[in-house]
């Protein structure tokens, strides 16, 4: 990959990310898919002395319903206005979202209000009538991956491990996959813009890995909301993911890193489904390609226990990656909860190698 030109473009797309005092809003679905990702973000933020506040009254941003065509934009705007009201009431002005679709929706709504102030006024009336609340718009809006990107050097410095194969000394080959709603709608709101998003690349490079450039790098994972939510449409979703896997396979990726709720879910789970439907696997020796969120990877770099990071609920086993980096784990504890009780063991897949 020729990096010179890309580096120049990346330099033009640097967004402002607040230094501290964040109001954090969670994703609707991530705690089901990757249960410890958000908890891990809060853990390392605390360890780096950052103040992150969560208001227990916050709800969905309704983006998942908006993009599925079941929640009208005025409703979505009023719910977003309520989240901003909670931030205002809590005394914060830096808004950080866990979800990429939320980040996209907040950005879209703030931009709409900027261009059409009469709509903002209308939404303020809706919120006042419904809840009696008022809000101030955030001074800084960032995604949690932006904040982690900002901390990447500190994480690297405090880290116990590097993205390096301990047996060969070679960097781990990583595919980075950015959620569509991160910067495709508003390129200037994402680190690196829409064409060369740098947010995950920056983390991979800083932590010692090698980024793989491949033909379908910017292709959607296939979630597409209605493509998955309606069962009859799931063929569209899995076909899009398969297109990406086929495209990246010749480059022998050892890890897929993501920053969206849907992407890690589908890039991870569809590998199992494709293997059961067509007998195809995309990793080495019948294995899959492990898929991690940036919080989970940051946690591994910082030396957190893989099972505390929830890596046992990934469909594609992560053990081959842990072995390469040299991260110790106890196979006996894989399916135990924090009180050492069994959480149950999944059935072994027919083709995908299981540990």
């Amino acid at each position: 990959m020729k990096l010179e030109g890309k580096r120049l473009i990346w330099n033009e797309y640097q967004k402002e990310i607040a230094d501290d005092n964040y109001f954090y809003v969670r994703s609707c679905v991530r705690q089901n898919f990757f249960p410890a990702a958000e908890k891990t973000f809060l853990r390392y933020m605390k360890e780096f002395g950052k103040n992150v506040f969560e208001n227990p009254s916050h709800t969905t941003c309704s983006g998942i319903g908006y993009h599925s065509d079941i929640v009208p934009i005025e409703t979505a705007m009023t719910m977003v206005a309520r989240q901003f009201a909670l931030m205002t009431e809590s005394g914060y002005e830096n808004f950080v979202t866990s979800c990429i679709t939320s980040f996209g929706l907040y950005t879209e709504i703030l931009d709409t209000w900027h261009h059409f102030p009469e709509i903002e006024e209308k939404i303020r009336v809706h919120l006042r009538n419904a809840t009696g609340r008022e809000f101030v718009k955030p001074k800084n809006l960032a995604h949690a991956s932006d904040v982690t990107f900002k901390l990447r050097k500190e994480i690297s410095k405090a880290g116990k491990y590097r993205l390096v194969n301990q047996n060969t000394g070679e960097p781990i080959r990583v595919v980075e996959h950015i959620g569509c709603h991160y910067s495709r709608m508003f390129p200037s709101k994402g680190v690196g813009g829409a064409e060369y998003p740098y947010v995950l690349v920056g983390m991979i490079e800083e932590w010692g890995g090698e980024v793989i450039d491949y033909p379908e790098r910017r292709h959607c994972c296939g979630f597409g909301f209605r493509q998955y939510l309606i069962k009859a449409n799931r063929g569209y979703s899995i076909s899009a993911s398969k297109k990406k896997f086929e495209s990246m396979k010749p480059y022998k990726p050892e890890l897929i890193l993501t920053n969206c709720p849907g992407c890690p879910m589908f890039l991870d789970r569809w590998q199992y489904t494709i293997s059961e439907m067509e007998g195809i696997t995309y990793g080495e020796k019948g294995q899959g390609i492990p898929v991690l969120t940036y919080e989970e990877l940051a946690g591994l770099i910082l030396g957190y226990d893989p099972w505390d990071l929830g890596l046992q609920v990934h469909q594609v086993p992560v053990e081959p990656l842990l072995d390469k980096i040299g991260i110790p784990y106890d196979p006996e504890r894989k399916f135990l909860d924090k009180d050492e009780n069994s959480i149950g063991k999944p059935k072994s897949p027919s083709f995908l190698k299981f540990y």
Partner: protein, 110 residues
């Protein structure tokens, strides 16, 4: 294999690196007029065989030009060599000989 209630669509992306261009090069040498084809489809619109079967000269030509010959082997046998395509071709491509050249290429290259 498990049936999950949906299917995986076969990728229709064309990969020119995977195409076998030997067929088109041989067809070009056997019938050089193929190079002036602008793929207007007049040949297909007037094709006698195409009225009764799925035979499509334009598609066959496009596929062989992309190096994708698998699906056209059986198709080419449907041509009746009536020559109407050749009469309507605005570029004067010798279409009957083109079909023969395509068949010849498949015969020689497998």
């Amino acid at each position: 294999m498990i049936d999950f209630g949906y299917t995986i669509t076969k990728d229709r992306q064309l990969d020119y690196d995977r195409g076998d261009m030997r067929y088109y090069r041989l067809v070009q040498s056997l019938e050089p007029s193929v190079d002036v084809c602008m793929e207007c489809g007049s040949c297909t619109a007037t094709c006698s065989a195409g009225q009764f079967t799925e035979f499509n000269i334009r598609k066959a030509h496009t596929l062989i030009r992309r190096g994708n010959t698998e699906s056209i082997k059986a198709e080419l046998r449907k041509c009746m060599f009536c020559g109407k395509c050749q009469l309507v071709c605005p570029r004067g491509v010798n279409l009957r000989n083109l079909i023969l050249a395509m068949n010849r290429a498949i015969e020689l290259l497998g």
